[in-house]
């Protein structure tokens, strides 16, 4: 009795935690891909620890339902969905690994469609069928108990990976930047880029041109510039409009991004698209620094729906209130950068060309989880 009582209160705590997290997401109290990703991973850790299941696909379904709720709370924060899909892929992988030898045909690990029948069936059935099939191979209950610690270990590894991303990316800086180089950064609101530049500055002397992303991130941008200058890097702040005029003197463009899409395209801060185009015209290399948690299996079929629009009060002030009635004011927060504009993506797992990103998507996510 006591045991069940404790279980019930634990569940209540967990539910409260989930509700709290969803509310925080809705109210934008957790902002930024990194914070959301970390919080989601930690929540999933708790959920998996507290969950009970008889078949592994019950766990999968539970997490999918939870994931749908979380994603609905902040739909354009793709990092949340990414982490959920990572965990789901992890779970499937663990279960398949345990049963892989028994299911025999080796198809289980590959998400590729291998038979005409599976082409005609829906994803859910396909996934559910495979999993329950593999579990039905006699060893039933004992498997599910064995998996839990592995899954939890897997999630813990994911959290550690998240925490060390900036470290791994920053260490690649010295291979990218030479002495006396001029770097332009169009997304100074990125902590990854900041750490990248600061670490590289310990071994190289270079100049950084910081584009203020006016009006949405201008304060963060100016603080970024302050931090660089305090670390001894020659820093110059320029406005978004000046980029074309000085691009001829720039050696590399280094930017961070909000999300990376399956085709290798980026969802970055407003203004990044035109700056990357400008770099292409001048044949200046464009380098993106991003953690793998930002890689989303989504394909940009409808780019405009992905771009969030922000506070128009930042564009036209109260003083110009009379204008607001007559004029349609737009303040996009993000920009879509096509994969052709980007030369290199540096992730915590190394550097890749944007045309290779689809492979990383295949490695880390399962097709069955593409829609939660």
């Amino acid at each position: 009795m006591l045991a069940t009582g404790a279980h019930i209160t634990k569940e209540k705590d967990l539910n409260a935690h989930i509700e709290g997290f969803v509310a925080q997401l809705k109210r934008r109290q957790i902002q930024g891909s990194y914070n959301v990703a970390l919080a989601t991973a930690q929540l999933l850790l708790r959920v998996v620890s507290a969950a009970r299941w008889t078949h592994i696909d019950q766990l999968v379904t539970q997490i999918k339902i939870l994931g749908k709720r979380l994603q609905g709370a902040q739909p354009r924060e793709l990092a949340c969905g990414n982490i959920i899909r990572r965990v789901l892929a992890l779970i499937r992988e663990e279960s398949e690994d345990t049963n892989g030898s028994e299911s025999g045909d080796g198809v289980a690990n590959s998400p590729l469609i291998t038979s005409m029948f599976s082409l005609l069936s829906t994803n859910d059935e396909y996934g559910a069928n495979r999993l329950s099939q593999s579990l039905m191979d006699g060893t039933g209950k004992s498997i599910k108990k064995d998996l839990k610690p592995y899954i939890i270990e897997g999630i813990q590894e994911l959290i550690d990976e998240l925490r060390n991303i900036d470290e791994s990316i920053a260490s690649m800086g010295v291979e990218m930047i030479h002495e006396n180089e001029t770097i332009l950064t169009p997304t100074p609101n990125s902590k990854t880029v900041l750490k990248f530049l600061l670490r590289t500055a310990q071994k190289r002397k270079f100049t950084v041109l910081v584009v203020e992303v006016f009006p949405n991130d201008v304060e963060k941008t100016h603080e970024f510039a302050l931090k660089l200058a305090e670390a001894g890097i020659e820093t110059t702040v320029i406005t978004d409009a000046m980029v074309y005029s000085i691009m001829g003197r720039v050696g590399k463009v280094v930017l961070g991004t909000h999300a990376v899409l399956a085709n290798g395209g980026l969802l970055a801060s407003a203004g990044a698209a035109m700056i990357c185009q400008c770099a292409n015209v001048h044949r200046t290399p464009v380098v993106v620094c991003t953690g793998l948690y930002k890689l989303s299996p989504m394909y940009p079929f409808d780019v405009e729906s992905l771009i969030e629009v922000g506070d128009t009060g930042k564009v036209l002030a109260f003083e110009d209130g009379s204008l607001v009635d007559k004029v349609n004011v737009v303040n996009p927060l993000y920009d879509y950068v096509p994969p052709e504009s980007v030369d290199l993506c540096i992730t915590n797992m190394g550097g890749y060309s944007p045309s290779f990103m689809y492979r990383l998507v295949l490695d880390h996510y399962r097709q069955e989880d593409a829609t939660l």
Binding site: V218, T239, D240, Y244, A270, G271, M274, L316
Partner: protein
């Protein structure tokens, strides 16, 4: 050195009789002021030279050099005026008594507070390396103006410095208007003719105007034309007649080169606008605004997207006028350019100048707009009067540009109330610099056509027009 010879000629009699010299001085205000102006300029030059030398760190030389230079200038002045008496001092700077021992520092500080191109060391250090060949002009008041600067020029200078009068055509028109006032009040000093002396008088006014902001190409062309007109003024007609004819010629010039030219451009460009168009424009161009207003008047249904940038936010004025006329407008800052570009059918841009190698010299950000439009195969049309054509050639935006005040970047407000951001103490950090350039260069391949009053032409045909019509 025209002014020297003329001034010397006027006071040639080796000034034995002081009262005579003073009488002459009372009569010929211009020449007296000319002398004062010259003395002042010499003193300023000496101070500047001393400052520049001391900056380079040559320890013992500056005071001696400054002293020597001042001695020389004083000696020359002594020849022209009998009384070794005090020449009115250089704008409140160092005194000129004896072997001037003005310290470079005090000269700089006096210059710095009142205006002229700053050579002070702290400003120099804070300029971005790439742009060190350009100067930052700054002016807050006109207390240091010489006595012969006309009040119309004084107020115009302040209007330029505060960016109240902004825009290539507007500045040209305002300058010519001020020149009309100057010419009206001009009286030729004895011993010289209007055609010779007025040019120099105007040059001094122009030099003062330059201390607020460098001259625009339109102003340069207009001034060259005006000086040409002055030099061919016949000696036979009276001064009154000459002045009147000059004032009228200026009036005609403004009308022809700006007003009528704008009307012709509007007629031609309006044909490029059809029903259902969504037209993008950048910042504010007076001509482009007129094109839109005319199209609206003709009942063509179209909408306009105005892309704006800081620190001037000129686009707000554009969007205000267009929406007041009933046009459907959208307003976005330049970081949102890619977002709005999907629906655009054509782009209309204004110009500060069009250079002889076909490059468009215009408000910074124009190049980005033109490039983005070209990549999406959206036609870019530039509307520009022929007065904006220049003989200059330039390959990039760095070799020649205008530097604005870096503190405009420190201020992160979007309206008239300044709001200092996190960078308010940027000057304390030696590694941190703010760059504020005003213009950029758009390559001719991004421009579909340039609409001028002499016709529509591709950017490569600009030197042909300059040669054929001698407009520059």
């Amino acid at each position: 050195m025209m002014p020297d010879s003329s001034a010397k000629a006027s006071t040639a009699p080796p000034a034995t009789a002081a009262p005579k010299a003073q009488q002459q001085k009372a009569r010929d205000k211009n020449s007296g002021e000319a002398l004062e102006g010259k003395a002042q300029r010499k003193a300023e030059k000496a101070a500047r030279r001393a400052a520049a030398v001391s900056e380079r760190g040559k320890s013992n030389k500056p005071p001696a050099e400054a002293g020597q230079v001042r001695e020389k200038s004083q000696a020359r002045q002594g020849k022209e005026k009998s009384s070794g008496g005090s020449i009115t001092s250089a704008g409140g700077g160092g005194s000129t008594s004896g072997v001037g021992n003005i310290t470079a520092g005090s000269a700089i500080s006096s210059l710095a507070t009142q205006g002229t191109a700053i050579h002070g060391s702290d400003i120099l250090d804070k300029r971005v390396g790439l742009f060190k060949h350009l100067e930052i002009t700054r002016r807050s008041g006109t207390a240091d103006a010489a006595k012969d600067i006309h009040p119309a020029i004084l107020s115009l200078t302040l209007q330029f410095a505060s960016y109240t009068v902004i825009g290539s055509s507007a500045r040209c028109r305002a300058t010519l208007g001020a020149f009309q006032a100057v010419i009206k009040d001009y009286r030729t000093p004895a011993g010289t003719t209007l055609s010779r002396n007025l040019t120099n008088h105007l040059s001094r006014q122009i030099d003062f105007l330059k201390t607020a902001r460098p001259l625009s190409i339109t102003m340069g062309n207009a001034i060259r034309w005006l000086k040409q007109e002055i030099s061919v003024v016949s000696i036979d007609i009276s001064d009154d007649q000459a002045r009147e004819s000059l004032i009228e010629k200026i009036e005609t010039y403004i009308r022809e080169k700006i007003e009528v030219a704008d009307r012709v451009i509007v007629q031609s460009a309006v044909k490029q606008i059809s029903k259902g168009d969504v037209i993008l424009t950048f910042s504010r161009s007076a001509v482009v605004e007129q094109v839109f207003l005319e199209a609206n008047l003709r009942g063509i249904e179209f909408s306009v997207v105005v892309v704006d940038t800081r620190p001037f936010f000129e686009g707000k004025e554009m969007v205000r006028r267009l929406s007041n006329a009933g046009l459907r407008c959208e307003y976005v800052l330049i970081s949102g350019l890619s977002y709005v570009l999907n629906d655009i059918t054509s782009v209309f841009l204004g110009a500060h100048a069009v250079l002889s190698n076909g490059q468009l010299y215009s408000r910074v950000g124009t190049a980005l707009v033109a490039m983005s439009a070209k990549r999406k195969n959206i036609p870019v049309i530039v509307c520009c009067e022929s007065i904006k054509f220049s003989n200059r050639v330039q390959l990039d935006s760095v070799t020649f540009n205008e530097l604005g005040s870096p503190d405009d970047l420190m201020n992160i407000s979007i309206d008239s109330a300044p709001k200092p951001g996190p960078l308010k103490n940027w000057r304390d950090l030696p590694n941190l610099k703010l760059l504020n350039i005003l213009y950029d260069l758009t390559p001719p391949e991004y421009i579909k056509k340039i609409v001028t009053e002499v016709g529509s032409l591709p950017p490569s045909s600009v030197p042909v027009i300059i040669r054929e019509y001698n407009s520059a």
